[in-house]
């Protein structure tokens, strides 16, 4: 994670950032400490404030309150050009009237670097992003992936302290996206440059990040490694956002140390912080079986074979759940089946606050 390139080991700190547009409070009290060389992913649905947070770090939005510090120096109100930060935009923002070489060399040209040095740097960077044969082309003559590489090259060329990336892969088709994801990860590892990456795609977050910051409605929900946010979701929102298909929820209540819902009656270790409660479990942790043999029974709504595995959708009261089964499994629609999962793979959430309860199911 740490590399020798950041010998002074500067830290990027976001402290209690707030931002409103009119009456809409888009970023609420956001605080994150970003370690040197870290790949941090800001993850959340559209409108959650992640892009605004990134733009505040870039200096493209003013900050209502709070501060941004880089290596102990306050850059909250510094002009973008004095922040030593490069950004890759979702649309790439390549200058249409400049060639690939001119696009990449622009940051150095503006900085007053001698022409020969700019040319050398452009060639070196172009080689790194595999664009050396395309230096004289214009952006309109390039494919989406190539434009992406030019944008990366332009960000890399002046060796900034940090990269900011705003959904850089979302304009690519699925196959290319997977390929560029791997390239990005490889490049970030080799360069060791601190990176803040904004996305709504949880696969990108899981695969790229050292740490993931999940945001919803302007509030930071959880900050942790991909493993942590997946295995130990802090809130109902995080649990429902991570995973594909996402976590299943059974809405019910906890009373007398028992979780009850339609057809469900399970013992728990203690009463929760409120009566209304939600039981969550992941599709891949659970399985269906003969009715009466599991934790509760439900009715099969559909059974879909994807080739790699079978997704069984079952209905229980008002809740719909998806269970991942081996690929040769099949279940008849309308039939009654049991649902089971290891009790330590079940999570209990406070329905009112959305937070995870410290209680758990008792083995049975």
């Amino acid at each position: 994670m740490q590399s020798s390139a950041t010998e002074d080991a500067k830290r990027l700190s976001l402290r209690n950032l707030n931002k409103s547009f009119g009456s809409v409070h888009v970023v609420k009290d956001l605080s994150i400490e970003i370690e040197p060389g870290e790949f941090l992913v800001l993850l959340g649905p559209s409108g959650c404030g992640k892009t605004t947070a990134l733009r505040m770090v870039a200096g493209l939005e003013t900050v209502d309150s709070g501060s941004i510090e880089l290596g102990g120096e306050d850059i909250t109100n510094a002009l973008p050009k004095y922040r030593d930060i490069a950004m890759v935009f979702q649309s790439y923002a390549l200058y249409p009237h400049k060639t690939v070489a001119e696009n990449m060399g622009f940051p150095l040209k503006v900085a007053g670097v001698a022409r020969a040095d700019v040319d050398a740097a452009v060639r070196e960077t172009a080689a790194q992003v595999h664009m050396i044969e395309y230096l004289d082309r214009f952006p309109r003559e390039l494919s989406g992936g190539q434009r992406q590489r030019v944008a990366l090259g332009r960000a890399m060329i002046r060796r900034p302290y940090a990269f900011l990336m705003d959904e850089p892969l979302s304009n690519l088709d699925a196959k290319l996206r997977g390929h560029m994801r791997a390239e990005l990860k490889h490049m970030q590892h080799d360069l060791g440059t601190t990176t803040i990456y904004v996305t709504h795609d949880q696969i990108e977050a899981m695969t790229l990040a050292h740490r993931v910051a999940i945001m919803n409605e302007g509030v930071l929900q959880q900050l942790g490694t991909p493993r942590e946010v997946y295995d130990q979701p802090a809130t109902l929102f995080v649990a429902g956002f991570m995973g594909s298909p996402p976590m299943n929820f059974v809405h019910g209540s906890i009373d007398n140390q028992r979780f009850t819902s339609t057809n469900v009656n399970l013992p728990v270790s203690a009463n929760g912080s409120s009566v209304k409660s939600v039981l969550g479990f992941r599709p891949e942790d659970s399985e269906v079986g003969v009715a009466g043999s599991g934790l509760f029974d439900a009715t099969v709504f559909a059974s879909e074979q994807t080739g790699e595995y079978t997704l069984v959708t079952v209905v229980l009261g008002d809740d719909t759940m998806t269970i991942k089964m081996p690929r040769d499994f099949d279940a008849a629609i309308h039939s009654s089946v049991s649902v089971s999962f290891p009790t330590d793979k079940g999570f209990l959430f406070d329905k009112v606050s959305g937070n995870r309860e410290s209680i758990h199911l008792v083995g049975g």
Binding site: I85, A86, F89, A93, Y95, P96, A111, R154
Partner: protein, 352 residues
């Protein structure tokens, strides 16, 4: 089995023989219409051309249509304007060129900057402050009129008082106008018929002793065409993605450098087309020129109408000569403009 009718003769005439083809009957009809309209449009031009070659007798004794057959062409009108009276012709022509070019230059540079500002900066002037300004100006004028104070003094005082009021009570005003209102205000300057504004403009230049000068016409044309430039360029500046400018900012470019190196090259096609349009408008302008110029600053359209004067009646032949030399540059500009528009440089030029 299938419900497809056979092609009748009528079908063959009025139905396309294949996808993407035109039916023979339709094609005939369309081309006939187009040919007819071409004749309607082209005939006046032809008529002007041959009239410029006619003598007075041929014009009055006509109508004669075909040179060398109906009448003998003569270059007498051309000679009169380019040999005997060439000073007058040349002066009007250079006047038109100088006035059109300079007013266009001024108009484009001011207008495109205004358009860029309106596209990128959100203005919120308080309605109350604008009202205060108007009141202060009226008060200044009233003082001048009633007490005979020097107008420069009263205006300076009015501006100072207005400034103090804005700094002190300006923040209590709630209602403000936005960019849309400013844009509409600009185009609204064009809604009034020009003839209505001619009298105050005339009096203004009379007071400034600038009647019949180039500067009067240049300034007037600049102001008159400014709304068009702002509107066209506003749309164009708006179509330039703001990320390009943000990216340039992060790359370390200053605001001015961003404008020169990123925005201006991208706005070039729009600028070129707008320039041509304004140039044509300035070249063709007549009403304002009639009032503001007499001889020194006379432009070509005025020379055209001057051929209808005096006891000799309308000099059709000379008028046609002037019309021809007047429309030649416009035709070239129109062709150029058409190229710009058909190449699509005006629309979506920034994509890619």
């Amino acid at each position: 089995m299938a419900y497809i009718r056979k092609r009748t003769l009528l079908n063959r005439i009025f139905e396309a023989p294949a996808i993407g083809k035109m039916a023979p009957g339709t094609a005939l009809f369309v081309y006939a219409c187009l040919l007819f309209w071409t004749l309607v449009v082209a005939f006046p031009l032809y008529w002007i051309l041959i009239t410029s070659l006619k003598t007075a007798q041929d014009v009055n004794g006509g109508p004669f249509f075909i040179p060398w057959v109906d009448f003998t062409p003569s270059l007498h009108a051309w000679k009169e304007l380019f040999v005997f009276d060439y000073e007058d012709t040349l002066r009007s022509y250079t006047n038109s060129i100088v006035i059109a070019l300079l007013s266009t230059l001024l108009c484009i540079s001011v207008g495109s900057m205004a358009a860029y500002a309106l596209a990128r900066i959100t203005y919120k002037p308080k309605f109350g402050n604008i009202l205060l300004f108007v009141i202060a100006m009226i008060a200044g004028m009233y003082t001048t009129w009633k007490f005979g104070v020097d107008w420069k003094l009263t205006i300076a005082a009015a501006v100072a008082v207005w400034f103090l009021l804005v700094r002190s009570i300006g923040r209590f005003f709630k209602k403000s106008v936005g960019n849309g209102d400013i844009l509409f205000w600009m185009i609204s300057q064009r809604i009034l018929p020009p003839i209505v504004t001619v009298v105050p403009i005339y009096m203004m230049f009379q007071n400034l002793k600038l009647l019949d000068t180039h500067i009067a016409l240049i300034l007037t044309y600049t102001v008159v065409n400014l709304p068009i430039v702002v509107w066209l360029m506003y749309d164009f500046m708006n179509s330039i993605p703001i990320e390009l400018e943000e990216s340039a900012q992060l790359d370390g470019a200053s605001r001015l450098r961003t404008f020169w190196e990123i925005v201006l090259p991208l706005a070039k096609p729009g600028l070129a087309a707008t320039t041509l349009l304004v140039l044509i408008l300035a070249w063709n302008e007549y009403i304002l020129a009639v009032f503001l110029s007499t001889s020194n600053a006379q432009t070509i359209p005025i020379l055209v109408s001057a051929m209808n004067a005096g006891e000799r009646g309308i000099l059709w032949w000379s008028m046609c000569v002037v019309i021809i030399i007047m429309i030649i540059p416009v035709v070239f500009m129109a062709i150029l403009l058409q190229r710009f528009i058909s190449k699509g440089v005006l629309l979506g030029a920034v994509k890619g």
